[in-house]
Symmetry: C2
Subunit: 189 residues, 2 copies
């Protein structure tokens, strides 16, 4: 086991599923930001957190509108997601989303979600927790949409290939053949 510089810590926490966070400006123009730093936070109330840098256009847009979308795209659209991660709404406006080839629509709660997503949530902004060079946006999940397939209650990874971010512009998806149920070990072994 070797010790590494702490600056590597986030790269070593990957893979993480990479999502698009949808937002809007005051004129209702849609934006989408790629994010890999996000997680459920609570079942009741249904709370979802995403870390956002104050440097990103999305930060201000969500603060102003009080709502956002969380969108999971299939692996074949990773260049669309990556384009949203590497271009800026501040420079391109709605052209950003057009270049990425994705289509925002309004959900029932009024936030933008993406037609291309296999799962989308709409969230209301409940809190912003100051951390460091990113802040954590905590949203309450207000609606949930599914385009992809489930197997029982879980995403059917034989049919839905999620996008996992590896760091340094690299992405990977899952090996559906490896899916298996965990067993509880009973003895010392």
């Amino acid at each position: 086991m070797r010790k590494l510089p702490i600056s590597f810590f986030h790269l070593l926490s990957y893979p993480k599923n990479s999502i698009l966070v949808t937002s809007e400006d005051r004129e209702g123009r849609a934006n989408a930001m790629a994010a890999a730093w996000h997680t459920p936070l609570s079942v009741n109330p249904p709370s979802y957190g995403v870390a956002i840098s104050p440097k990103r256009a999305t930060y201000k847009l969500i603060v102003e509108s009080g709502r956002f979308g969380i969108n999971f795209l299939p692996f074949e659209l990773l260049d669309s997601l990556h384009t949203c991660g590497r271009t800026s709404f501040n420079e391109l406006g709605e052209e950003k989303i057009r270049r990425a080839g994705i289509n925002p629509i309004r959900g029932e709660f009024g936030a933008y979600i993406l037609q291309e997503a296999y799962v989308s949530f709409e969230c209301s902004l409940e809190d912003i927790v100051k951390v460091g060079d990113h802040d954590l946006f905590i949203g309450e999940v207000r609606s949930l949409y599914l385009r992809g397939e489930l197997r029982g209650n879980i995403i059917d990874v034989e049919r839905v290939k999620p996008i996992l971010y590896m760091g340094e512009d690299h992405y990977v998806t899952v090996d559906s053949r490896s899916l298996r149920r965990g067993r509880i070990l009973q003895g010392i072994h």
Copy 2:
């Protein structure tokens, strides 16, 4: 696109890499809890967050000791990880970790990490953010250990198979053949 009950939201956010959070009681006895709700939060300071239910033994242990470990295990040890997710330190004490077949050691900062992990961090507890039925523990990363292999600056998924949680006791790993670099789309397509 169909609307689903909001109670599905966390299942639909999977896969997430599943980790073991290591902690200790006042006698220095080690515990490990499986967690899938965790994320980097900031590069500077290096901050990592993990959502923990107050019902879990780990919650109190970390509050008391002020430190914890974040450990990423290889896919061949998913039953070890799953055992830590489905048994309780409150009932089993150190026997929990023995049943899981994992070996805690002290890191440089004094927190427990796991010999079997391909990556481990030690964290100091900086803040607990109340959310709902889980709270977010925010740690500052104090040390970083690597047993697995890197390719450039990222985890070499051809050699290191991470454990991804799918919900409902199911796990999957990545398809290393799918690894690729994202491209930035330039035009409308």
